[in-house]
Symmetry: C2
Subunit: 328 residues, 2 copies
């Protein structure tokens, strides 16, 4: 991780919590981690996509964040490890397994260690922090909860577990709604709530508002803490499209306006500021009309430097929002 730039000496003094899902969230988290030291940045990650498969507990968003922060992610896929082989999965296929979920050999290594630690009674938070340590990740990466919350997608064919809908069915069925199975029994982890208590600013990364950020917000205590903190969201929709994943399709199927403004409306009661891509500069007024402060910048993170550049803008924006709210 690079040294913190001097221009950001001010923002480096604030404590930031980033809420993240998979690819887009992992990219901005990586940008923020290039700027802020571990004691000033906590990343709370969605676990609604998690599932049990091949006897393993698979945490797609947590792992995407870990792999990106460790800089061992596969940039071509957006999931999994770079320089990966698939020998185990190929053999499971020969043994009759319907291998619809791609797990590479290095990825499986991490999953076996997770399985072993979970079986030994560690919490998912403890396991994730230990895996982060072993990957050389120094920033706290926290699963949103230690209890299983599983996103179920309501479709015309009935309810589908998220990965079944997302990977196996390639988001083909229409999404009529969603349900978070296990939510009644779940609570945000103590570490996640403590990080929110201490945060000077909260950043919603450019992740899917429904299935990535939504489950984190649904946990008791999270919304209340966010309401007390300067908060901004980065739009995952640019030019009416999602860079990755089914966010745009989901918005259309739920009758929402498929645009950055539609996302801003979805977050209107929760955030103070909203980051729009330059392609959506024309929506700034619509965002302002919702009572949110708009901020327009190039929000496409093409490489490591691009992640850092967006993170710098986001931190500067967070500081200005904080001043607007009277420097709480």
């Amino acid at each position: 991780m690079e040294v913190i730039s001097k221009q950001l000496s001010v923002s480096s003094e604030i404590k930031v919590v980033a809420l993240a899902g998979g690819v887009g969230g992992a990219k901005l988290a990586h940008g923020l981690a290039q700027l802020l030291p571990p004691e000033r940045l906590t990343i709370i990650v969605n676990t609604g996509d998690d599932f049990e498969h091949l006897g393993l507990t698979i945490c797609p968003d947590v792992d995407t964040v870990l792999y990106n922060l460790a800089e061992v992610n596969n940039p071509a896929f957006g999931w999994g490890r770079a320089d990966e082989t698939f020998h185990v999965l190929e053999e499971t296929k020969r043994l009759g397994h319907d291998a619809w979920f791609m797990l590479g050999d290095k990825d499986i290594a991490l999953h076996l260690l997770r399985r072993q630690m979970l079986d030994a009674g560690m919490t998912l938070t403890g396991v994730t922090l230990e895996l982060a340590r072993r990957l050389g990740v120094t920033h706290p990466v926290l699963p949103m909860s230690d209890q299983p919350v599983r996103t179920m997608i309501l479709t015309p064919e009935g309810e589908l577990p998220f990965q079944e809908y997302f990977v196996h069915r390639r988001t083909e069925p229409a999404m009529l709604g969603m349900r978070l199975a296990g939510l009644e029994e779940a609570r945000a982890s103590d570490a996640a709530l403590a990080a929110l208590d201490e945060a000077d600013a909260v950043v919603f990364c450019p992740s899917n508002p429904f299935v990535s950020i939504g489950p984190i917000l649904a946990l008791p205590g999270v919304r209340e803490r966010i309401a007390q903190t300067p908060t901004l969201a980065v739009s995952p929709i640019i030019g009416g499209r999602a860079l990755k994943g089914p966010a745009a399709k989901m918005m259309a199927e739920q009758g929402l306006e498929v645009s950055a403004a539609g996302v801003a409306r979805h977050y209107a009661c929760l955030v103070d500021g909203f980051v729009l891509d330059e392609a959506d500069a024309g929506l700034a007024d619509a965002v302002r009309a919702l009572g949110l402060t708009p901020f327009v910048t190039d929000s496409v993170m093409r490489d490591k430097a691009g992640r850092r550049r967006l993170a710098e803008k986001v931190l500067a924006f967070a500081l200005s929002l904080r001043e607007e709210r009277g420097g709480e």
Copy 2:
């Protein structure tokens, strides 16, 4: 699998149960499987060596038998798969795992399927039969029990789980004794007992008498059934040495005579016949003095044909023992 040889039309009409541990047991089981159709051969395999590792349930003897019968075993190692890679294990090492137990990528594929099936509530017997089916193995390979029985080795440093003693410590500590943890709660599987009930002959494969055959014999109901059936053992000790594994060392440490005759004495109350290698022809009288019928042959199985050759001898010997006992 080859067609059953005509010379063995008689022995092919008897039902045989083979008790097996790892390498030596798997070799003779493979020889028998070349001669007998699935409905006339059942292999009951030791599970005392099983352990939980990396979140997986590892059944070394069961898998060695399965891989040998499927002819996908690694002939160089005596364990694991041929044409194997170790990408997962190498990554677990990089992630700080003390990878003292070798698991190749193809081997891990099988273990993930086992984990998944066990998690789904299947018995170890059901899982093993399903894995056998997927590997193309048609003979019933039965773990001795569906309850965990774990061989603990008593050493001067205290008690060690078997794989810890055998693989991690390379059988270095002296074996003062052994204990089968979980035996009180365990019973032989219904399928294993039924096979013994129907058996016309029982064969103790050339496996370790203490840690391979011993645990199977310790299960309630097994010895009684064996006592009612013509039974023979093939010596795992040839010329005072074990071809593989710690049997000779264990015998010495327990003050037993390290020879085929020492093994025969250990089995004296259980078996009717005892197969000695030609190198031990001079021990035939000692075997006879124990009240057992000796049978001398070349018992080293150097290749697939050698396995079959020994199996032919063993079946012919079993038939003659059956006639001696009055053709029960």
